[in-house]
Symmetry: C2
Subunit: 452 residues, 2 copies
């Protein structure tokens, strides 16, 4: 006998969780389609080289696999849906008309140590616009974040927006070597969770390298450089923030390009109806992934900041270039569905349900089984979700208890007494009311009870 188990970092969704999770997935899809995004589906398995971009120093921890009996072809499970999208855009240049707005949903895999709300296999739900460098595309992604969270019924959230170009200007502005930039950004990104003291310490720390010569921490910034960064991060948010950044970083052309983009985004996001209190420019947002080149976005839950962002993204104008000579601008964002769902569970926003059925036809009289099946078929063909009881319980009473436990709203009782009179008993389990109904009226009766 084999022990039934899964490995750590994976999760089963039993129906009581999967019913509301499915609702989350359906809601996201509806919002994304409302913005005109089209579905794309790609395999979970990609060439390893496609995922790593051929980078021998690729750092993300990915699950490797291969076609059985063909170990020479190196394959791996995708770690996001963005790299496969870039691959598709490069692979089918004639079939993909730009601008290409696509959504995609599916599992992705990462090897990192599992933590609360972080899994090794998790579902992402992405929306991306390919082939537009217009900031309207980025603003639409922010609007989609707002509309999605609102449609999901999440009361307290906001979207944080920044621009990598502004952050890339930090080296010029604060006067450190550009090679340290990615470490500085990684450190700044922790401000929100770890506070300035920890960030300051790490910025000052000696540079550390592992045995492969890769940086593992520390940027060895001088105290004046750290002061400059602090002055930047301390700029008060509000209407004047972009003016202040421009004044402070006037010596950095790239930073000024970034603030100009943020100005455009600000105007578009307002035109798209996102309330000012649902989003803000936050200079500390860097986002981890190396491929972002411009605006970056993340969505946090005000009541659960510790879980991090549940819906994030940014502009990645160079990613398609890994697979093509043609340069293709792109922007988008991704819902971390499992992390979001875990957060909604914690916040009490998930309504568990033990059944999807509207009706259960009890089945306690062997002489009436055909009739029960006939009635169930009639209801099903009218779109009423109908279960026939087929378990081990034989008495009406036991079967009724099962229906109550399963939280099915309506029960149909049909024994030889009812069959003879050509009626059914219909019991509304919400009100406990029970009525006798002619067989011919069964659909309209159920419709009335369900208020369909």
């Amino acid at each position: 006998m084999v022990e039934p188990r899964i490995t750590s970092g994976l999760r089963d969704y039993l129906p009581e969780d999967m019913i509301p999770r499915q609702k989350v997935l359906d809601t996201i899809r509806k919002v994304f389609e409302r913005f005109g995004f089209l579905p794309l589906d790609t395999p979970a398995i990609e060439q390893e080289e496609v995922l790593t971009g051929g980078d021998p120093n690729f750092k993300m921890s990915i699950f490797r696999t291969s076609v059985p009996n063909s170990p020479q072809e190196k394959l791996a499970l995708r770690f996001d849906l963005t790299v496969p999208l870039a691959r598709v855009v490069a692979q089918y240049p004639d079939r993909i008309k730009k601008p290409f707005k696509r959504y995609a949903v599916g599992p992705v895999w990462r090897g990192e140590k599992p933590q609360a709300g972080r899994y090794r296999e998790f579902v992402q739900f992405d929306a991306d616009t390919i082939g537009s460098s217009d900031m309207m595309a980025d603003a639409e992604i922010i609007a989609i974040m707002y509309e999605t969270m609102t449609a999901l019924g999440i009361p307290n959230f906001f979207v944080r927006v920044n621009n990598r170009k502004v952050l890339n200007g930090l080296a010029e502005y604060a006067g450190f070597t550009p090679g340290k930039s990615s470490d500085v950004l990684r450190t700044i990104d922790k401000l929100d969770r770890q506070g300035w003291r920890a960030v300051e310490e790490e910025l000052a720390m000696d540079e550390k390298f592992n045995q492969l010569g890769e940086r593992t921490g520390g940027a060895a910034l001088s105290s004046s450089q750290i002061e400059a960064i602090r002055a930047f991060l301390d700029l008060p948010s509000g209407e004047e923030l972009l003016d202040e950044v421009e004044a402070l970083m006037a010596n950095s052309p790239i930073a000024l390009e970034g603030t100009e983009e943020l100005r455009q985004i600000q105007s578009h996001v307002r035109a798209l109806g996102v309330p000012d209190d649902r989003w803000k420019i936050d200079l500390s947002v860097a986002r981890g992934l190396g491929y972002y080149t411009g605006p970056v976005f993340e969505t946090v839950l005000t009541d659960l900041l510790s879980i991090g962002s549940v819906f994030s993204g940014g502009r990645y104008d160079n990613l398609v270039n890994q697979f093509s000579n043609v340069s293709v601008p792109a922007t988008g964002a991704s819902v971390g569905v499992d992390r979001l769902f875990a957060a909604m569970e914690q916040l009490g926003l998930v309504e568990r349900r033990t059944s999807v059925a509207d009706v259960m036809v009890l089945n306690f009289d062997p002489s009436c089984r055909t009739k029960c099946q006939n009635i169930a078929t009639i209801l099903r063909r009218k779109g009423i979700k109908t279960e026939i009881y087929i378990g081990a319980a034989v008495t009406l009473k036991e079967q009724l208890s099962h229906a109550v436990r399963q939280d099915v709203p309506v029960v149909i009782i049909l024994g030889s007494y009812e069959a003879e009179k050509e009626i059914c008993k219909v019991k509304n389990l919400r009100t406990r009311e029970q009525i006798e109904v002619p067989e011919a009226d069964i659909v309209s009766t159920i419709d009335n009870i369900l208020l369909r």
Copy 2:
């Protein structure tokens, strides 16, 4: 630069294919929920031992993987959704109330050589009932097959039904050693595609073994044994088939148990409204998977028999036992979504669409961008799928051509002329009719055109 490619046996679904495929998935889900099945979701990655049942001779070709940096824990990608279901039923005995009717949808992976309509990664959509040994459960699976194919608009199909118990009686009936049973069944299963001549030849052929001592073909049956099998397979289908099987196999108690189950299924399937011309008992149906123990089902497309079954299953009363001391009866079936979709494509049943949007707001006048975004937001919040043009084309004419190419039904034209008059132009691209509409009437106008 990395070449953008996927490995053989995998498939990308670009939107023109994914839009109708998504419709197929939604239709299947709707039918399954109508029968009261509940959603379950499990990870793609399972313990290898769970998938193989700990069987050292496990033959299916599976994709192996492991947690990065932990190669000692042997993991693999699931090859179906049934084994994970059995694992779940054994793992959460207290949380899963029986009878447990669950559906599941997701990718599965198999290493076999790809062929037309057969992929190495493909989506299955399963419905199973756990904890009922009642033949009503099996009949419901057949009814679900019928209702699903009908809901998908497939005109010509039928469901073939058999019982492994009848086939298991063949050894007693024809007088060969039970050890040859699985090879005989595998051979008989090919009757439909390869004809009797090939089946006969293989039944007579010397037994062959590979270097591991595993059978690879041939059953070395005598000519009288083959004659007996032929007499069995030649029984004419129709009302009397079960009587004839019982007469022929009267010496096999297990076969008689099988025919009794088929009789019950026959009666239930009729009660569930499945027309007689949509299903039949077919004694040659064996189904490959080792875990079936009773009734087996498959669905074939009359106009495309070569593609094999697109929706198959059977009863597997012993599978949960691999993970638990408790015996749990189970039955179910699985749609091979990608094979089915490939078949529908071949049969011309797939309507390709290049867009999901109802409306495209053109965006050719920079002074009106805010207004365009306002209008799009109003429409989206009313559930109208609305795209704003954000591509590289700048003229109204070019943008209009793009909308026509994308097959969007309605276009909104909003330049400074319209803005000044506080109207929009609304163009119905199906009728080519164009009207001027006050901004306040835009939603009702679009609703009228879309007949929502």
